[in-house]
């Protein structure tokens, strides 16, 4: 069986979720080919050549793929899709945007956000914000899959020298165009890659109060996240959101501050190794999943915590 994994990268380095996706692919019996498409990607290719569990790399270095627009990227994948029984991508905004476009063109029902591979055609995936886990069997001849990164330990980078084949770009779609991008610059680790995450909820009361979390995050080398309620209230941008409709994280330590613990938030963080909850409402559901709960006003607890770390 041949497996194609679509690499997510930023034209300079491989994104971590790609390594988790390759790990998922290695649970299927077959050789893994990694597609790396972008512009000026020689550094990405050099890195990709060292990834464990990959047999071959297909590279396409072309202007059309610089911004990974779904219209053109899907056409490129379709040009090589014939050779594969499985096509996998990470369930990040990149993979979620791209994969259904490929899937519809191949007339295949995609399986989204898998957390385990039970057999060659059967997968587990969370539904209803993770309230339930569905076991789903795909009867399509080709399996199109997005992978929840936190459910698979990443493969490593080793002293490999994987062979690379270059392919040509396909004709441009000319129906969409990249205008601009604003990527938040931060010295902190990325939310989905951080070992420690500290998140704030509605209890933070304002965006300004997030500086209380920032200073603790700086001491711990943590990323800062938020609940949907905090994003809804306009305290912080949406890319902070942890939960069903935001990012899925599973750090070693997750500190939930002023977060009540709605199922939609728990869906994004309950696989964290250690969970701490700080909330003044002792009945908040977040305490039911917390390993350590502190019933306290966050405006007292946070400055004290920062001082004692």
């Amino acid at each position: 069986m041949s497996i194609l994994v679509i690499a997510e990268h930023d034209n300079s380095s491989i994104k971590g979720a790609t390594l988790n996706t390759i790990a998922a692919a290695s649970n299927i019996n077959g050789e893994v080919t990694l597609l790396v498409a972008g512009l000026d990607i020689s550094k990405v290719i050099d890195e990709a050549k060292t990834i464990s569990g990959v047999s071959k790399i297909i590279s396409c270095d072309h202007e059309l793929y610089k911004n990974f627009l779904a219209e053109d990227f899907a056409k490129l994948v379709l040009s090589i899709a014939d050779s594969y029984s499985y096509i996998l991508a990470p369930a990040t905004t990149f993979g979620k945007n791209l994969m259904p476009r490929i899937s519809a063109k191949l007339d295949i029902q995609q399986i989204s956000d898998i957390i385990s591979i039970e057999s060659e055609d059967t997968f587990k995936r969370p539904i209803y914000a993770g309230s339930c886990i569905a076991t789903v069997k795909s009867n399509d001849s080709v399996k199109l899959i997005t992978v929840r990164a936190t459910a698979f330990d990443p493969v490593s980078l080793d002293n490999n020298d994987i062979p690379v084949e270059s392919i040509d770009a396909v004709d441009a779609s000319n129906i969409s165009e990249f205008v601009s991008e604003e990527i938040a610059k931060s010295d902190r680790p990325e939310l989905t890659a951080a070992n420690i995450v500290i998140s704030g909820g509605r209890g933070m009361q304002s965006g300004d109060n997030f500086h209380l979390l920032d200073s603790i995050a700086d001491k711990l080398g943590a990323a800062v996240g938020a609940s949907r309620a905090a994003v809804d209230a306009g305290f912080v941008p949406n890319d902070y959101q942890v939960g069903q409709t935001g990012k899925i994280v599973a750090p070693d330590l997750y500190i939930a501050v002023g977060i009540s613990g709605a199922i939609q938030h728990l869906a994004g963080m309950k696989d964290s190794k250690v969970i701490v909850a700080i909330n003044k409402d002792e009945d908040a559901p977040i305490f039911q999943v917390a390993d350590y709960g502190l019933v306290s006003d966050l405006f007292d607890a946070l400055p004290e915590l920062e001082a004692k770390l």
């Binding site: 779904a70 309230s131 886990i133």
Partner: protein, 250 residues
């Protein structure tokens, strides 16, 4: 300009969903049903575009059982001009829904299709992108801002790590994210008016679309539960536990 807004009837956001005793599916008996929250955002955006005189007609559509008319009436009360139910007794997969919608787009010729980025039941996040693919339309998922001009739609998207702005040729498919807008509530007069608006029902078999399932649901279970933790009395105790017991900080 005409805007098509596909919506989905789903279990209400506040309902805690559990598996059936025999684990064959989720137990939705007597559960409160609502319009999927992301679909409400899509509808609100379409109505605002119309209110700004950038569209003449907003059509709400759903594919589902007869009961889905409730959600279409809600859409009409929230500002849709007319509604279409493609009636189907079985719950369809996203690919089948996208095929049905593509068929309706070919009949209705909307300039823009706005739909939610995902439904909160299956959490698939597929239908919009699949619809765009089947029609060869451009797509912008996770929209936080939509701007229109004569021939284009400019969409700012929520992506991991920030925002991306794309310009799409019309017709186009856009899926909505949380911050696009805050949906209104239906007023009583509008709920009354909605009862008189046009709602057409078409049986799915009349469309001639292959909607056969491609997947089988083998079982539905509860996720593994976490062991109960402890309540610490002070910040000092918390720091001590994290350092010495959990060993997650140094």
């Amino acid at each position: 300009m005409k805007i098509l807004v596909p919506i989905k009837r789903v279990v209400d956001y506040n309902v805690k969903v559990r598996p059936m005793p025999d684990n064959s599916n989720v137990d939705l008996n007597n559960a409160k049903m609502s319009v999927n929250p992301f679909c409400e955002i899509a509808l609100e955006e379409a109505v605002r575009i119309k209110e700004a005189s950038n569209a003449e007609e907003v059509i709400a559509i759903t594919v589902g059982k007869t009961e889905s008319q409730e959600q279409l009436r809600t859409a009409l009360a929230l500002g849709a001009d007319r509604a279409i139910l493609i009636e189907s007794d079985s719950l369809l997969e996203p690919l089948a829904i996208a095929k049905v919608l593509a068929k309706v787009v070919e009949q209705e010729h909307p300039d823009l299709v706005i739909l939610g980025k995902q439904a909160i039941d299956g959490d698939n996040n597929q239908t919009g992108q699949m619809l765009a693919a089947l029609l060869d339309y451009p797509q912008a998922t996770n929209a936080s801002e939509i701007k229109l001009d004569e021939s284009n739609v400019t969409v700012t998207r929520e992506i991991d790590g920030g925002l991306q702005t794309l310009q799409l040729n019309k017709p186009a498919v856009v899926t909505t994210d949380l911050r696009l807008n805050e949906p209104r509530y239906a007023s009583l007069p509008n709920i009354m008016k909605a009862k008189k608006k046009e709602l057409t029902v078409t049986n799915i078999s009349d469309l001639g679309v292959d909607v056969n399932p491609r997947t089988e649901l083998l079982s539905v279970e509860l996720p593994p539960s976490r062991d109960a933790g402890i309540i610490v009395e002070s910040v000092d105790e918390l720091v001590e536990k994290l350092k010495n017991e959990a060993k997650v900080i140094t």
